[in-house]
Amino acid sequence: MSYITGVGLTSYGKHEGLTSLDLMSMAAELAIADAGLARADIDGILCGYSTVSPHIMLATVFAEHFGIRPAYAHAVQVGGATGLAMTMLAHHLAEAGVVKHVLVVGGENRLTGQSRDASIQALAQVGHPDYEVPLGPTIPAYYGLVASRYMHEYGVTQEDLAEFAVLMRAHAATHPGAQFREPITVTDVMASKPVALPLKLLDCCPVSDGGAAFVVSRDRTGGTGVRVRGCAQAHTHQHVTAAPRLSELGAEIAISKAKAASGVAISDVRYAAVYDSFTITLVMLLEDLGLASRGEAAARVRCGYFGRDGEVPLNTHGGLLSYGHCGVGGAMAHLVETHLQMTERAGKRQVRDASIALLHGDGGVLSSHVSMFLERVR
């Protein structure tokens, strides 16, 4: 058994002058305090990576900088799925008795630490160096390819995709830490600049500076406990050229294993935190996870299903699309928001009942997947 005992999150956007270590430290400090712990209580550290400041031993670089001498520490790299993959590992480490309190941390000055072109170029390198990268694809192009096929097979339209950008923006409008809070409409999304069609600028998450952290513990430290009920991964490929058919992607495999591991059904889920690097990512994952039937996710947005007051509120902080995306920390913000909702500390964003949450992360081009169920215990 393990619990998420504390969370910390910076605002996302521009943090001029701050380094990746600064942003990681800020979030770590908040998370440890939130758990009611001191630095000395942390005996494990898991961290992600920074594309701005790459290092072969980032966990110990951070531990030294932050002032911790952990019994267990290393970095984890699974692209966008890193945050949940670290949480899954922390859960197993805590359950196995290897550590008592694992600090999971990610942060990067991805926006101000390098040019936007450098970011786009660094990320495009997830493509195959011989068979894909020479063709000049970008991350939006990899997802644009998947989007074109998904739209073709399931009759999803660009307007359908746009609904998710609008929803995430509406949610971000109520969070002071979000990078983009100006309301947008489907018309705005449709009229935004083409990036890699069918994806346009507002279908894509921004590049941000920010940091996020949480503490995963063997025992509860506060009043309301947020317990990791069960989780699972699936990895089907790295490169989009080698991806299986749409019906065999890893999200369906991971969620099926996570349901078996936790005994939770999709109908039990009261809150969802789903990776949303692009609008198409969110549509596909929601439908793969079973939170909407095939081709129906947009219809559910239109009837308020995923809104704050809907049946399954989704990414109430605004997601990667509007809260922002600083790399590893990006999707960790989803878990931070989930924790705030489950412990009823989300203020004016508070949903009615976040007793059971489903989180899902995706790395690469729908390559690596982590599904996780969290449960509130009083």
Partner: protein, 127 residues
């Protein structure tokens, strides 16, 4: 597999793939073994350049000065008639499912495969 491959990735006008003599799997990303069965009985073959469009994305925002000179360019995933999938460039107006044929073109300082609508397919549509 130490010999240099003579395909578009090394500047030669050819699309190569590997066929497994043990399990008949075909693979596009070149390796010293079959990724399906682990066998080493691989035969390198030259693809016909024919296929069907599986997916498309028109890149309008590129990240480097070399690629920016080419926007917009259409990136495709093509299911070849030999049974493997590959990434390539192609005509901007191609639709998913269309039959295509490969030629080669220069892009950002290198040679890349470029698919256009198959000629016989166009004729078949007109007739």
């Amino acid at each position: 597999m130490s010999n240099a491959r003579a395909d578009w990735t090394t500047g030669h006008e050819a699309i190569l793939y590997q066929s497994c003599g043990t399990c008949a799997n075909v693979q596009y990303f070149r390796r010293g073994f079959c990724a399906a069965c682990g066998g080493s009985d691989l035969v390198e073959k030259r693809a016909s350049g024919e296929g069907r469009v599986y997916a498309t994305s028109l890149v309008c925002r590129a990240a480097t000065p070399e690629t920016r000179a080419h926007v917009p360019y259409n990136i495709l995933l093509v299911d070849t008639s030999e049974g493997f999938r590959m990434m390539a460039h192609g005509d901007n107006n191609l639709a998913i499912g269309e039959k295509v044929t490969a030629r080669f073109t220069q892009f950002a300082g290198g040679l890349v495969p470029y698919f256009e609508r198959a000629k016989n397919f166009e004729r078949a549509k007109r007739d």
